[in-house]
Amino acid sequence: MSAEIQPGVPVGLAAAPEPRPASEVDPATPSMLMPLAMLLVRVNHVMVAFGMVALLAASAVLTSSVVTRYLFKSSTDWQDETAVFLLVGATFLCGAFVQSIRGHIGIEAVSSLLPSTLDRVRLLLVDVLSLCFCALFAWKSWTLLHEAWVDKQTTSSSWAPPLWIPYGLMALGMTLLSLQIAVQVAASVRRLGSRQGAT
């Protein structure tokens, strides 16, 4: 699966610092975490494949909704919710992949103002902050999932699909995202440490 970016169409506001092909593991990753990093690359590929299918499926489901309404004059409510589940899933499950190519954009205005060592420290702190937030979010998603599972919660529509489906997708996605950032933080720490050791 190619991860190239179309020439001339930047994906975000500020260009990612150094887009690395998704199939590669940062060589500075501590050897202890290497298996995890390599596993994440593979898992991310699977998740992107899922995301692709989900996008197509959501388009098909919404189209079928238009067609059935027109042909049979019947309105059904499962299409919107199915599409919501598919697209929520695609979004959260691909979060880690987007993080692995540094595709979550930020305002990089200060990076040119700081000396390079200080800028590395800043990037590390930023990653630690992101990690704390995502880890908290992941943890709260699992508790939410547990609650929805135990209480057999459903959505409020007449079709009433169980809520553990989207919550589970969210919990899995945020966990992968947290792991991805953790691996990146470990690599940055190691790189920073070796740099300071050298000088």
């Binding site: 970016i5 001339g8 692709m52 189209t63 238009v66 027109y70 599409a83 190519i101 979010f137």
Partner: protein, 453 residues
């Protein structure tokens, strides 16, 4: 702690985290979580995920990835070049026709793809070299494309408008319609300027020829036969049909805006499969993965922005700020001007998505109190945010142009774009003077706004 203190602290922490360079999504989420922990009941932290899910699980918001898919499908095919070539052939007789053709091609492509950078890159990669070959100055050529690309967020379906409709609780279908009039106005202004500037550059080339004998390719003539013109049509027609079909589905009452997104995405994929033979997995996968990259990034920002505005409203910061603005007692138009100026300034740093979700809870109540139509304001705000796409320092479109025409200096691009920024601000003034430009079409199609609004 007083309201003012919390509000200022909130603003300060937001700015600090945003400018630390953290991904916008995580910066907004972290700010929200920190303030929940300190200033809200302990249990509120337990519900952050539920909060984000409930806000995000609206099918209108989740149509965004599908609109992006439709844009990516069309943007990655040869449709842009074909559309451009057809326009070029058909507009040849008009003086400055090539520039006008580029503006029209941008507008049509933007309406199909709904993405500003994709439009710049698709039309610009064919249009800029052609215009320069014909003697247009590089800055002028770049300006036309950069400005033409911004039409993408004004003509439906526009992602910024989807967000505004959700944030302001306005009808999306109505907002889409309200964007068409101003979109056409801008196309007209851009085209008029293209003709005007072409004539100026043409005269300069003529004088140069008369005095020094330097020839310019601008003075050459080129003619196309009727046959050539007709041959261009079949490649373009399917996309025009797609465009019109989607519009009919939406406004004929056959489909909701989100269903239109699914239908449009699927039709676009089918069309590029049939017309351009793009159907193999290896052809379609890059389209889908590019879509996922952009939409995931965007949806994360949207989800976290929603959490952020939830906290802002729970702590009464947005209400406080809104009351403060009302209490300033600004006159109606001064209030509007101030708010639009603020949008321009925020546009220096933030993508439209975040501006809308952060600003609307604060500025809409005062605007409503002042008696402004919120659909009309949504259009104004969109145009003002569009200018942010083509002026420095962020000016995404400028960098897209720099990417497809690396030999044009950024300085030339920026100067070439500036007249277009002026035209966009002119259109803002015109829409203020004649609100009908935006509101007439939705009122005609959907009936006047219910008085309850």
């Amino acid at each position: 702690m007083s309201m003012l203190m919390i509000g200022s602290l909130f603003g300060l922490v937001t700015l600090l985290l945003m400018f630390s360079g953290a991904p916008i999504a995580f910066a907004l989420g972290a700010t929200a979580v920190v303030f929940m922990a300190f200033f809200m009941p302990a249990a509120s932290l337990d519900t952050i995920t539920q909060n984000v899910y409930e806000e995000m699980s609206s099918i209108t918001l989740l149509a965004i990835p599908l609109f992006i898919l439709k844009g990516a499908a069309i943007g990655r095919s040869r449709a842009g070049q074909d559309l451009y070539a057809a326009m070029h052939v058909w507009m040849n007789k008009v003086p400055g026709g090539l520039g006008v053709a580029n503006v029209f091609a941008c507008a049509l492509f933007a309406a199909m793809a709904g993405s500003s950078p994709a439009t710049c890159s698709a039309i610009g990669s064919a249009g800029i070299p052609e215009m320069r070959k014909r003697g247009y100055s590089p800055g002028f050529a770049a300006g036309i494309i950069a400005a033409g690309g911004t039409l993408g967020i004004l003509l439906p379906p526009s992602i910024t408008m989807i967000l505004y409709a959700v944030a302001a609780e306005q009808s999306l279908a109505r907002l889409f319609l309200a964007g068409i009039g101003p979109g056409v106005l801008l196309v007209f202004l851009f085209a008029a300027y293209a003709v005007f500037n072409y004539k100026r550059e043409f005269r300069r080339a003529q004088t140069a020829f008369a005095t020094h004998g330097t020839t310019s390719s601008m003075l050459d003539r080129e003619d196309f036969s009727m046959r050539q013109k007709v041959e261009m049509l079949p490649r373009v027609l399917p996309f025009v049909v797609l465009l019109i079909g989607v519009m009919v589905a939406l406004y004929g009452g056959f489909a909701t805006p989100s269903e239109t997104a699914g239908l449009g995405a699927l039709l676009a994929l089918v069309l590029i499969a049939v017309v351009y033979g793009v159907w193999r997995v290896k052809d379609v996968a890059p389209i889908l993965s590019a879509t996922l990259k952009e939409s995931t990034m965007l949806m994360f920002i949207i989800g976290m922005s929603l959490l952020f505005s939830y906290v802002m409203s729970y702590l009464h910061i947005s209400q406080g700020a809104a009351q403060w603005i009302v209490a300033l007692g600004l006159s109606k138009w001064l209030l509007l001007a101030t708010i639009l100026l603020l949008v321009i300034i925020l546009g220096f740093f933030l993508p439209p998505v975040s501006i809308i979700l952060m600003m609307t809870p604060i500025v809409l109540p005062p605007l409503k109190a002042a008696g402004f139509d919120l659909i009309w304001f949504g259009v104004l705000m969109t145009i003002v945010m569009e200018t942010g796409l083509i002026h420095p320092p962020v000016g995404l479109n400028l960098f897209v142009i720099k990417n497809i025409a690396p030999d044009i200096s950024l300085r030339d691009i920026i100067w070439g774009v500036m007249p277009f920024v002026g035209l966009m601000l002119l259109s803002v003034v015109l829409i203020c003077l004649f609100p009908g430009i935006a509101t007439l079409l939705p009122d005609q199609v959907m009936g006047p706004v219910p008085a309850a609004r």
